[in-house]
């Protein structure tokens, strides 16, 4: 099978220095194909979140090299990385992290307004579409802070999707949700992956969630211990 590679890491290494020198990532190399739904699992402190932040381009302090959509991101200027994040990566965090003063619609629109690829009206239209996919169209004009946790998480998925990113990255996207909402969220992820061919990389310790993905990488002590390739 000849699949397009969307993300590639080459011998990633990273140290923490506080309180003592400690190797959190050790020789991590893997590839993610376009359209793949990848989960990264492992015990607390195994380095999976750290790995995700390196992939996200927000953490630049590592050894090795990361390539996203045929572009080497390692060593790029911070402002360039911001542009790359804006255009290529959508984030879903554990604690939904919406801007509380803004309506759901505005929250979704903000990354697109920043990108400036479409006009304001088009962006608004697209934001409504995303909300519709996630079944939240009626909540569009409510302030983000008035929504339930599960709804907020769905809004943040809509936000992640607004710029049609190459990759969606999730940091424990179901970590703060009850089982019913968790199920909704990974149903959405599965749907995005299957129906829209969306590449997803998610860190999780939710085994059900991991099982639902195309492939799971298991980490321990900063190393990949299991490349569970299921294509």
């Amino acid at each position: 099978m000849n699949r397009d590679i969307i993300l590639q890491t080459n011998k990633l290494g990273k140290y923490f220095y506080d309180p003592i020198k400690f190797k959190v990532l050790d020789d991590v190399s893997f590839e993610v194909s376009k359209g793949e739904f990848l989960t990264i699992v492992g015990k607390s402190g195994c380095g999976k979140s750290t790995l995700l932040y390196c992939l996200s381009t927000m953490d630049t302090n590592y050894d090795g090299e990361i390539t996203i959509a045929n572009q080497i991101v390692t060593g790029q200027k911070i402002d360039n990385l911001a542009v790359i994040r804006n255009e290529k990566i959508g984030f879903v965090f554990q604690f939904h992290y919406l801007l509380p003063e803004f309506s759901c619609l505005k929250n979704i629109m903000i990354p697109a307004l920043k990108l400036g690829k479409y006009s304001y009206d088009e962006i608004e239209e697209r934001a409504y579409q995303k909300l519709e996919i996630l079944g939240l169209k009626e909540q569009a004009l409510k302030p983000a802070s008035k929504l339930s946790g599960g709804q907020q998480q769905r809004v943040s998925i809509a936000r992640a999707l607004i710029n049609d990113p190459a990759i969606i990255m999730g940091d424990e996207p179901t970590g703060n949700l009850d089982s019913k909402n968790s199920e909704t969220v990974f149903e959405i992820f599965k749907q995005l992956s299957q129906d829209f061919g969306q590449t997803i990389i998610a860190v999780t310790h939710d085994t059900d969630f991991a099982k639902a993905s195309d492939r799971t990488i298991e980490m321990a002590d900063g190393k990949i211990v299991n490349h569970n390739k299921i294509i």
Partner: protein, 411 residues
């Protein structure tokens, strides 16, 4: 609303925290109002004291300076005699040669508004046994009145009579009181050249400057020439008024090229009085500046607090592709909006305070409180307010721009 996204975020922050915005803006309002108020008072005082000064002092005065003889005449020729003398003022006359020619020439300069000849005479006023030292200014009424607005200081009598009445004298209020004379009374004057003349008081003026009122008098220029025993063409001083009194020093150096006589601007001649104005003019804006600094700190504090509370939001914006520059723009915009609201209200409040104080009657000789409504003060207050709030926003915003989102998400 189709603002750029950074401005939209800033505006939303402002609108969702109206109370804090108002508090921060109010600090600026008070700072700006006091800035305008105190600067207007200083400007008012300075223009009041200047206009008071210009009642008797010309913008520029041209006169013959006393020369002091050289102690030693040095010569290169050994056969010459070397003269040694005591240095002292060479008592030649104080007349300006061809004064009207010079006046004509001065009037061709574009910045000269008026040029008037004057003959000043040191004299004593005598009435019975009492004697008072003073100075009489021999004037050409029309020109002198145009320059000093003498008419406005007249208490009794008629100024213009001087031009026809060679025997007439207009004296200061203080002279009249001390000599106990009124209009139409006689007053004997003795000039420093020993000429005695009995004159008739035809008017009394009051400048409200005690020194002037107790010594000065106006007489016809021809009478003054008699008192110093000079010909009808002799003039001791030429007084000039110029377009911008504040640039008098510059004009004076310019005019000095025209003549060998001393050209002296009013600032040089009255340095002591101006020192007071300068002191006030330095101190008051400094106080206003400190008040403004406190107001700017108010903005700084609130932006700083907002940033501390919004660490998560900043991290999320950065994760979604906002650059450090964008974060700075957002928070500087917020500070600017607070500052602009505050400045605008400050301008209104300042104008109101100036308006109120300018209606306060203090009584003679000042009249209404001397406060000046000066557009340039309002402009500088606006710039000051806006720049200060930009600065107050920039400092914490720069800190916000450096927030590492990973550190926030890890918590």
């Amino acid at each position: 609303m189709k603002l750029k996204v950074n401005y939209e975020i800033a505006l939303t922050h402002i609108l969702t925290r109206k109370k804090q915005t108002i508090v921060a803006a109010m600090g600026v309002t008070i700072g700006i109002a006091l800035f305008i108020f105190s600067n207007s008072i200083v400007a008012g005082f300075s223009s009041y004291s200047k206009s008071n000064m210009f009642k008797t002092i010309p913008h520029i005065r041209i006169y013959k300076e006393d020369k002091i003889s050289k102690a030693l005449s040095i010569t290169n020729d050994s056969s010459d005699l070397v003269l040694i003398s005591n240095p002292k003022i060479i008592t030649t006359n104080k007349n300006i040669v061809n004064p009207y020619g010079l006046i004509k020439e001065l009037r061709t300069k574009s910045f000269v508004v008026n040029a008037a000849p004057q003959v000043n005479v040191d004299l004593f006023y005598n009435s019975g046994k009492s004697q008072l030292k003073g100075v009489a200014s021999g004037i050409n009424v029309i020109e002198a009145d145009a320059m000093f607005n003498i008419q406005s200081t007249m208490l009794a009598g008629h100024l213009e009579n001087i031009s026809s009445d060679l025997n007439g004298i207009i004296i200061g209020k203080g002279v009249a009181e001390k000599m106990n004379v009124r209009v139409d009374d006689n007053l004997t004057v003795i000039s420093s050249f020993g000429v005695i003349k009995v004159m008739k008081v035809i008017g009394i003026f009051a400048t409200e400057n005690r020194n002037t009122d107790e010594s000065k008098s106006y007489i016809n220029i021809a009478t003054a020439q008699q008192l110093i025993q000079e010909s009808p063409n002799s003039v001791t001083d030429i007084y000039l008024s110029v377009r911008e009194p504040d640039s008098a020093a510059y004009f004076a150096t310019n005019l000095q090229e025209l003549t060998e006589y001393k050209v002296e601007d009013w600032k040089t001649a009255n340095a002591d009085q101006l020192a007071q104005d300068n002191m006030l003019g330095t101190m008051t804006p400094m106080i206003a500046f400190s008040i403004m600094l406190v107001a700017a700190f108010g903005i700084y504090n609130i932006i700083n607090m907002t940033i501390t509370q919004k660490m998560n939001d900043i991290a999320i914006l950065k994760a979604n592709g906002f650059k450090g520059k964008d974060i700075i723009k957002i928070f500087v915009t917020e500070a600017f909006i607070m500052g602009a609201i505050g400045t605008f209200l400050g301008l209104l409040l300042g104008a109101l305070l100036v308006q109120i104080l300018s209606g306060v009657y203090i009584g003679p000789p000042v009249g209404y409180f001397p406060i000046k409504f000066d557009v340039s003060i309002f402009i500088s207050a606006t710039l000051f307010g806006l720049i200060a709030s930009l600065g107050a926003g920039y400092l914490p915003a720069r800190k916000a721009a450096k927030i590492d989102p990973v550190e926030i998400f890890r918590k």
